[in-house]
C-alpha cells in the first residue's frame, strides 16, 4: 500500500528550478534509494516531503494527509516522518539520550522516566546502549549518525528520510550506519534514502530512482537501474560510481 505519494512536485529557488515535476510513490515497508549527480535535486526533494523546504507546486500525500495543504498541522505530521541528515545535526549541549528524548518530552509530552526508557530502547536498537550519557563530541562520526537515527526512530515514525547519511563519514565507519539501515529494513521500516552507496543499494533497496537536473530519469528494481540501465545518463553515472 502506498504511504507516500508525490505528484508533479516543483521547487524553484529564485529563477532556478531545482525540481521540475517529480512523481514518486513509496509503499509501506519499502526501501527506496534516490541516486543522481550532485545538484540533481535529490536533497531538495527529500526536504520538500516534510516541508523543511516549501514546495513551489505539486502535491505530497503522506499516510492519507496532504502534506502540502496549508491546513495540515506540520509539527504533528513531522513526528511520523523521521529525518536523518548528512551532517548528523546532533544537539551539542545534550547527551545522546538527551538528543533522543527532547522531542519525546517536549512534543509528545512524555514524562522524563518514560521518555528515557523509550530513548534507551532507541539507542539500543542502533547499538549504542552504552553511550546514552556521552555528548556528541565524545562520539565518532558513525556513532553520532546512529544517535541521529535513534532520535528519528524514538518518535515511532512511519517513514524515515535519509539525506546522504554516510557522506560525511570516514569509510571505515560507513558500515556501522548501513548495518542499522539493513536492520530497520528487516523490521519493516519504510525508508527513502538519498545516497551514493550503490553497492548497498544493490543489496538492500527495493527500488532505485535515478534523478538528474530536477527530474526522475529512470526508476526500477536495483538489478535493472544499476545492473542494466535504460538511459544513457544513468549508465554513465552508475559506471562512474561503481568503478
Amino acid at each position: 500500500m502506498a504511504i507516500l505519494r508525490i505528484a508533479g512536485l516543483r521547487k524553484s529557488f529564485g529563477a532556478t528550478e531545482v525540481l521540475k515535476g517529480i512523481d514518486l510513490t513509496v509503499s509501506e515497508r519499502e526501501l527506496v534509494f534516490i541516486i543522481g549527480p550532485s545538484g540533481s535535486g535529490k536533497s531538495t526533494l527529500l526536504r520538500c516531503i516534510n516541508r523543511l523546504e516549501e514546495p513551489s507546486g505539486g502535491s505530497v500525500h503522506f499516510d492519507g494527509l496532504e502534506v502540502t495543504s496549508r491546513a495540515t498541522e506540520l509539527n504533528t505530521l513531522r513526528r511520523s516522518m523521521g529525518m536523518v541528515f548528512q551532517s548528523f545535526n546532533l544537539y551539542p549541549h545534550l547527551t545522546a539520550l538527551g538528543n533522543v528524548t527532547l522531542a519525546l518530552r517536549k512534543v509528545l509530552q512524555k514524562p522524563r522516566e518514560e521518555a528515557d526508557e523509550i530513548g534507551r530502547r532507541a539507542l539500543a536498537e542502533v547499538g549504542l546502549a552504552d553511550k546514552a550519557a556521552s555528548f556528541p563530541n565524545e562520539l565518532s562520526g558513525g556513532q553520532q549518525q546512529r544517535v541521529a537515527i535513534a532520535r528519528a526512530l524514538a518518535l515511532g515514525p512511519r517513514i524515515v528520510l535519509f539525506d546522504e547519511p554516510t557522506s560525511a563519514l570516514d569509510p571505515e565507519l560507513v558500515g556501522s550506519v548501513l548495518a542499522v539501515l539493513r536492520d530497520l529494513k528487516a523490521h519493516g521500516m519504510t525508508m527513502l534514502v538519498v545516497s551514493h552507496e550503490l553497492r548497498f543499494a544493490r543489496d538492500a533497496a527495493d527500488r532505485v530512482v535515478f534523478m538528474d537536473k530536477g527530474q526522475i530519469v529512470e526508476e526500477g528494481p536495483p538489478s535493472a537501474v544499476l545492473g542494466a540501465p535504460r538511459e544513457e545518463r544513468t549508465r554513465a553515472f552508475v559506471a562512474e560510481l561503481l568503478r
Binding site: 505530521l77 513526528r79 529525518m83 551532517s87 512534543v107 528519528a152
Partner: protein, 230 residues
C-alpha cells in the same frame, strides 16, 4: 614638633586610623547598596537582553527595528548622560523616579542592550542544521529556540557576557552623582566632611573586596562553559 616623614604623611592621608574606625559602618552600608543594585541590574539586564534577542529571532520587521534602535541607543549613550537626563529631566514632564530606580533602570537597559547583541550573535551563529533537525522532529519554532538554539547561544555568549556584566555593575558608582547611597557616595560624602582621603581609600578597598570575587567567578564561569564546545 617634628615634621612628618613621607610615610607618615601617606598613612595620615589614606589610612588615618580614627577615620577608618569612624567611617567603616558608612562604607559597609554603601557596599550593601552597591550589591543590591548590582544584583538587580544583572538579573533584569540579562533577562531583558535574553527576552529581546528571543523576540528578535521571530523576525517581525517593525519589532526588530525597535529592538535595534533601543540596542544602538543604549550602546552608544554614556550611562552617566542617561542617568542625569532621566533624574534631572524627567521630573519636568511629571515623572519622578527615586535615584536608585533611575540608576537601576539605566544600567539594566545598558546591560540589556549589550546582552541582546551577544545573545543575538549566538542565535545567528547556531548552524541552520540545528533548526532543521529540531523542526524535523516536530518541535515548534519557539520550542526549537528555547531548547536547542538558546542553550547554545548562551554558552557561546558566556565569555563576552561575563566581561560586559562586570563592566556594567562597576558603573553603579555613577549613582553617586544623583545621591544613591552606594560605596562611592558614602566615601565622597565622608571625604568632603573630613577633607581627608581615607574614606575614598576605604571605598576603593570596598570595590576591590566586592569585585575581585566577581572577576574570579567570571573566570571560573568562562572555563566551565568553554570546555564542551563541539
Amino acid at each position: 614638633m617634628q615634621p612628618m616623614t613621607a610615610w607618615e604623611r601617606f598613612v595620615e592621608t589614606f589610612f588615618k586610623p580614627a577615620m577608618l574606625v569612624q567611617y567603616w559602618p558608612e562604607i559597609l552600608k554603601g557596599m550593601l547598596v552597591t550589591v543590591e543594585i548590582a544584583a538587580a541590574v544583572v538579573v533584569t539586564g540579562l533577562a531583558l537582553g535574553l527576552a529581546l534577542a528571543s523576540l528578535r529571532a521571530y523576525r517581525l520587521i517593525g519589532v526588530n527595528a525597535l529592538i535595534v534602535v533601543f540596542v544602538d541607543v543604549f550602546r552608544a549613550l554614556p550611562p552617566l548622560v542617561a542617568i542625569l537626563l532621566i533624574y534631572f529631566g524627567f521630573p519636568s514632564i511629571g515623572i519622578n523616579l527615586p535615584s536608585f530606580v533611575v540608576l537601576w533602570l539605566v544600567l539594566s537597559f545598558v546591560l540589556a542592550a549589550f546582552a541582546e547583541e551577544i545573545f543575538w550573535a549566538g542565535i545567528t551563529s547556531t548552524p541552520k542544521g540545528q533548526w532543521e533537525a529540531a523542526r524535523s522532529t516536530g518541535l515548534s519554532f519557539s520550542q526549537t529556540l528555547a531548547y536547542v538554539v538558546m542553550p547554545q547561544a548562551m554558552r557561546l555568549g558566556v565569555p563576552p557576557l561575563t566581561n560586559r556584566t562586570i563592566a556594567i555593575t562597576k558603573n553603579t558608582a555613577l549613582g553617586t552623582v544623583i545621591g544613591v547611597g552606594e560605596i562611592l557616595n558614602q566615601a565622597t560624602t565622608a571625604q568632603s566632611f573630613t577633607g581627608n582621603a581615607t574614606p575614598l581609600m576605604m571605598g576603593a578597598i570596598a570595590y576591590i573586596v566586592l569585585f575581585v570575587p566577581v572577576v574570579a567567578l567570571g573566570r571560573w564561569i568562562e572555563t566551565r562553559f568553554a570546555w564542551r564546545r563541539a
